[in-house]
Structure formats: C-alpha cells, structure tokens
C-alpha cells in the first residue's frame, strides 16, 4: 500500500467543458494509477470549477484541507502527479495554477469574484445529495417549510433586492407575490433552463455543478406561491445537465425534500423535467409555457402575465436557473447579507460566462457594479498578446456591443442600459481588432432571423430585410443609404414586436452602428473590411520577398489554389482561393499577407 498520509482526496472537474477537454480520460488515468499502485485516496468528481481556460482541472487536497490545483492536466502527466504529489506529498510546481498560501498568477482570476450562486460548484460532487447536505443544503427549505410563512419569504426576497437573472431583471420578490396573490387553487412553478443565448453557459454550469441549489430554490418558490407541481424546462443540448438534474430530483424525493408531505408537513410538490426541442424563442416565458403544453413555441400577448394566467391557464411563477439558485443562500444568510453586495438598485452578484478573445475565459461571479474593465482585464487577463481590445458583447442577441471608451461602466442593470447594452443572461464575449463589427451584427441577425417564430410581420419580414442588407454590405455590395435604412427598420421592428426576441433583435445592429459607424462606412464606401475578416473584401497574397518555396502552403490548400516549384516563390490563384486561412497559418516564414 503506497503511503497515503500526504493526500486526503483528489477531485477532477467533470462538467461538459472539462469532459470535452479530456477530463474523463484524466479521471480514468487516476483510477488506473490508484489501482495499480494501491493508492488509498478518495477520487471524486465535481462540477465546473470555473477556470474553464485551464481545463482539465484537478484539485489535490491535503488532510489539513490545503488545496493545490493543477490546470491543463493531460493523461501523460497523471503518473507524475500521483507519484510525486498524491503519494510523495510534494506538489509538481510547474503544473500548478493555484495553491493555498501561494500567490500564483492565476489567483487574480478569483481575487474579485464573490461566489454565492457558484458556492458549491467545483467543490461538491453534483451527483451526491449527501455532499450537498453536508455544506448546508436543504437547511433553507427546512427553515421555510417549518418556521416561515409565505409572506415572510416574500418580504425577505424583496428586502434582498434580488432581480431576475434571466435578463429582464424584474424584482423576484414582487414576482412571487403576484403569483401568490393570484386567485386559484392550482398553481405551477417553472425553471427556465432554456439558456439559448449563444455564448452563455452559466445555467448549464450551475445545473451540472450544483443542481440541488436550484431544486431547493424551486421548492421554496412552490411553497411560497402555493404551487403543487413544478417544471424544469431544459435545452436538449444540455444532456449532462439533464442527467444530473434527474439524479438530484430522484435523491431529493427519496429524502423527502420533494414529493409528498415534504419534511413531514402537508406541503406536497412534484417536479418534472421537460426537454426543449431546439427553439431559441422558447426562452421567452410565454413561448416556453406553450412548449410545455405541447404546442408551437409562439409567444402570447401579456397581460395577462403568467403569474396570473400561465401554464394550462393557471397562475405560474417562472424564473431563471440563476435566480432560483440565489434563494437558499438568501434565506440562510438573510436579505441584508445579500444586499451588502452590489449597487443601490442592482443588489447581489451575477454570474458571467466570459469567452471570446480573452486570455482567461470561464465562469465568473462578481458583485453587481464591478466595472467591465475589472472583469475583462483583472479577472479575464485581457485580450491575447499583441491584440487590442475592441468591444465586448453583452446580453447575447438581445444585447449590444460596448466599446473601449465605456470599459469603466459598472456591470449593473441601470449603468449598462445607458450604453445601449444590457446585462442580459450573462454572456460576455470579448472582441479584438481582428473582429469585424459589421460581421458580428450580421451574425446575430442571422441567428435571430432563423429563430423568429414568425408571428409578427415586422419581426418575421423586417429581420430578413435587415439581414439581406448586412449580407450585401459584408460581401462588398453595400449601398448609400443602407445605414439609415438599417436604423429605420431596426426602430420599427422594436416597436411593433410582441415579444422580447423581436423587441431586441435589432440591438446588436443599432449599437454597432452607434459605436462603429466607421466600419460600416468602410465596407460600403471603400469596399474595405478594417478587421480583415469579411472574405469577400480581403485578398490573400504571397510576399515574394519572404517566400522560400517550401511548398507547405500549397500542400495545405484544400482547393489547390497555390502553385509554385520547390525553392521558387509561390502564387495564389485568386479565382480559386476561398480565404480559408490555412496557408497563412501553415507558413513558418510570415510570407502570406492579407489585405
């Protein structure tokens, strides 16, 4: 038996990102090593640890509780970690990214984060209800069901200042109050886990990392508004989240936290999971409700709001995953503790999914009001070496692009709205000088056009016309007056659409025109793409001064557009070139130019 006093447990991050980066193989490698060498140390799995840019991530914890984190660990590296650290007690310093008691560079990632919603993600095994209970899980539900009235819960939520985290930011206490006061015996609660914003993965990580937190919040909501049944509406694209949720619901039902006569009281609450079927618009609450009812996901006019007339016509409380995950913490720690974080009108914390052209991308949770600069530069480490920050896209297809001059804006509901962007669900995509803002506008409009349900003429037809204009512009056929037409169409679509999709689809176009008009004008008037990104407006050439005729590019070219003899300057046939960039990436002599 190998000496085991040095290590208490080894934990591997096994959320979708971790698994995609190879963490499942790393986990198996640890298992094999432990078996072969007779190592008697607990090997555990956990959800998203948050440092997504460092996946696969492995934590080695000493009996004293000191934690050492390895980042980017590969299967080949496992043996050394086992021999030297797990058994030998000596960390392999060169592969560490974090360590208790040391100020490694990656510590900056966590310095300004406040992990309330993500309190357990990356720490507990999301498939173990016992580990959840060990860290205080279901204490809030117990407190609510045995010693609080629904009105007291609502007062607490109102005092905390919690606002809906799905994007609209509606005060949660008021929302629950409306459903509670709505007439009727049969009521429902729904979790909106249809996270459809491209670039957003907060809800997926919460469900994969701490499903019980959301379930507990939902049960508290059911008690408060008087619902007997609840639904998790989860995107079908999140199979791991669905799996972990099923396990959580099963275990919670076994232990009496969900189901009949919860904790021995006469409060009964059943939970179901409904899988989405691939429609972004079903993130809109009335479309979501229609989908649960088995219909096409087409939004309905509000009022009446779901709180009064929702699922099957009954009062329904619908909230986002993150909103529910906040509730147990607020009940356990009190409204004042929650309100201590954030700004005057935006209390608490918000989880952001930081991605794009960023050094340290991942899941971060910060107090409302932290500036964009602090999130992107201090936490995220800024854009890659040699590149310049251009803009950050917030709020997905409903949001806007915020340029460099507004980087000191606080991330909260009111401050961001002033810039034309929104907090949204939490997607934060960073863009640098190689990103074409006109292409970004086209990209988002392409998405919303595809996802439009078709009910409202302006949304259905208007987004199509806007998309056509943007496609013309990015392919070099922009015309005088296009910008003004985009603005006019955009404003009309916003004012004549029934639901949030249409009402916000033009936002990315309008904000990019507002802040990057020069790029639009370059595309239209000069047929030039300043970011050298739009394929129709760029040309790939080989610099005769640098090319040594190594033939590597010619071999890489998928359409055989490059010709040249060995040791002689090569040329690109412009008729055949598809601008795929393979040659430029392959060339070791910097001989391929883009203009």
């Amino acid at each position: 038996m190998a000496k085991t006093g040095a290590t208490a447990e080894v934990t591997v991050g096994l959320s979708s990102c971790g698994i995609a980066a190879g963490a499942a193989d790393v986990f198996s490698a640890f298992q094999r090593q432990f078996e072969e060498k007779g190592v008697d140390v607990r090997l555990r799995r956990t959800g998203c640890i948050g440092m997504c840019y460092r996946e696969p991530i492995v934590d080695v914890t000493t009996p004293g509780g000191a934690k050492y984190t390895y980042g980017g660990l590969t299967v080949d590296q496992v043996e050394r970690v086992v021999d030297e650290h797990v058994v030998g007690g000596k960390p392999v310093d060169e592969w560490l990214v974090r360590a208790d008691g040391r100020e490694l560079p990656d510590e900056a990632y966590y310095d300004q984060q406040v992990r309330l919603v993500l309190r357990n993600a990356g720490i507990i095994d999301p498939e173990s209800i016992d580990e959840y209970i060990e860290v205080g899980g279901y204490e809030a539900l117990t407190k609510v069901v045995t010693s609080m009235t629904p009105d007291e819960v609502i007062d607490e939520l109102k005092a905390s200042g919690l606002r809906g985290r799905g994007g609209a930011g509606f005060p949660t206490g008021i929302k629950w109050d409306l459903a509670r006061k709505a007439p009727g015996e049969q009521k429902y609660v729904i979790v909106n886990a249809d996270e459809g914003d491209p670039g957003a993965f907060m809800d997926r990580s919460i469900l994969e990392g701490d499903p019980h937190a959301v379930l507990e919040g939902l049960a508290i909501a059911a008690f408060t508004v008087g619902a007997q049944e609840g639904y998790f509406y989860v995107r079908a694209e999140y199979p791991l989240a669905i799996k972990r949720l099923r396990i959580a619901i099963e275990n919670a039902t076994e232990r009496g936290f969900v189901g009949d006569n919860i904790l021995g009281t006469d409060f009964s609450f059943k939970v179901h999971i409904k899988e989405g079927a691939g429609a972004f618009v079903c993130g809109e609450e009335t479309a979501l409700i229609a989908s649960i009812e088995g219909q096409r996901g087409m939004p309905r006019l509000r009022p009446p709001y779901p709180a009064v007339k929702g699922l099957w016509g009954k009062p329904t409380n619908n909230n986002n995953v993150e909103t529910y995950a906040n509730v147990p913490w607020i009940i356990s720690h009190g409204a004042a503790a929650y309100a201590a974080y954030g700004t005057e009108t935006s209390k608490g914390t918000k989880v952001f999914a930081l991605a794009g052209k960023i050094q340290r991308g991942g899941l971060v949770e910060v107090p409302m009001g932290l500036t964009i600069r602090e999130v992107i530069n201090d936490i995220g480490g800024g854009v890659p070496e040699g590149r310049t920050f251009k803009a950050v896209q917030l709020g997905g297809p409903s949001g806007g692009c915020v340029p460099a001059e507004y980087m000191d804006t606080g991330v909260d509901y009111e401050s961001l709205t002033k810039t034309g962007a929104i907090v949204g669900s939490g997607g934060m995509i960073v863009m640098d000088d190689t990103t074409c803002m006109v292409d970004i506008a086209r990209f988002f409009l392409n998405f919303t056009q595809d996802e439009s349900c078709g009910k409202c003429t302006f949304c259905r037809v208007g987004t199509k016309r806007m998309l056509e204009i943007l496609e013309r512009i990015t392919s070099g056929e922009g015309r005088d007056g296009d910008i003004e037409l985009l603005q006019e169409l955009g404003e009309k679509i916003i004012s004549s659409s029934l639901c949030g999709l249409g009402q916000s689809a033009p936002n990315p176009v309008l904000t990019t025109i507002k802040y990057f008009r020069d790029e639009y004008e370059a595309h239209i008037n000069e047929k030039r793409c300043p970011a050298l990104s739009c394929k129709a407006l760029i040309t790939y050439d080989i610099d005769p001064d640098k090319c040594i005729g190594c033939t590597v590019c010619a071999k890489k070219c998928p359409v055989e557009a490059i010709t040249g003899e060995r040791k002689e300057v090569h040329t690109i046939d412009q008729e055949l070139c598809t601008k795929c960039d393979a040659c430029r990436q392959a060339c070791k002599f910097d001989a391929v130019t883009v203009s």
Binding site: A21, P198, A277, G297, A355, G356
Partner: protein, 163 residues
C-alpha cells in the same frame, strides 16, 4: 420489387415504435413534444406516416403534429446519417473560427452544410450555441464534445470516428 417490400417492413416497424411511445404517454397533457422526441430517438427521423400515426394515437390533428415538428429545430423530417456532426456556431465559436471548421468538415466529407454523406455515415450540421464557449471552436457528435479545434483536428476526428 424487393425494395418496396423492405421499405414497407421498415415503415411497419416505425409505426410500431410510434404506437409504443404514444401508449406510454396516453392521457398525459402536453405530450406531443416528448412523444416526437422519443420516437425520433429510436427511428432517427419523423416520416409523414409516423407523424400521422402519432396524431391518431394522441387524438391530435395531424396538421398540429406537423406544425410542432416543423417548428422545432431538433425534429428531422428527413433521414440523417448514423452520426450527426454538430458544429457550434455560437458567438464565441464564431469569433474563434467556427466557419473554418464547417468548411473543413464539409470538404473532408464531401457534403454541404446540412447534408449527409453518400454512405449514410455522417451528417454535418451547423447548430446554435452548445454552451462550451471557453473551448471554442466546438463540435459535438452524439454525446461527445470536442473543443479547442483546428480545422485539421476536426478532420481527424471524423476520419477516426465510429471505428
């Protein structure tokens, strides 16, 4: 002649699946979508005859079934390949070169976006965000996710997949 018989047998099996799944959900409200999902999981797509049968079993007009099936992106009305290669075109992946991944895969497999290879092994499909943005660009085959891809790596994955 044999072809038609084989097709008929296949359809008869499909209809049996539709009957089985519909029976599971008998009497439950809002079951159209889960029934369509389960049937598609088993037979791969939703032919018109199957949708008609589901409508009959659930007591829902076939036009409504078709309306639901044609609304949601997940439902396929045409057969797909054994493995559907989903290329994520979410914002982060787009910014990190998803277009090049789709181009490379289409070139490697000799199909256009959304089409199936001749041997029926692969279908390439551009999809909206899969939620693995830190690993952009990403593709997903069955329940397997692959991230931080270069076009060459993507080609390698499909070359070796399912062997």
């Amino acid at each position: 002649m044999e072809n038609t018989v084989a097709q008929d047998t296949k359809m008869a099996e499909f209809l049996k699946v539709a009957d089985q799944v519909a029976a599971e959900y008998a009497g439950r409200r809002g079951s159209v979508i889960p029934v369509l999902q389960k049937v598609q999981d088993q037979i791969g797509y939703l032919p018109p005859e199957v949708m008609q049968r589901i409508g009959e079993r659930l007591g829902v007009p076939p036009a409504q079934i078709f309306g639901v099936a044609s609304f949601y992106a997940q439902f396929r009305l045409e057969p797909v390949g054994k493995y559907v290669v989903k290329v994520c075109h979410g914002t982060a992946c787009h910014v990190q070169g998803a277009g090049a991944i789709t181009d490379a895969l289409c070139d490697e497999l000799g199909v256009a976006d959304g089409e199936t290879t001749e041997d029926g092994k692969f279908t390439v499909e551009s999809v909206a965000c899969l939620g693995c943005c830190s690993l952009a660009p990403v593709i997903m085959i069955e329940d397997n996710t692959y991230g931080r891809l270069t076009p060459d790596e993507a080609r390698k994955i499909v070359r070796e997949y399912g062997d």
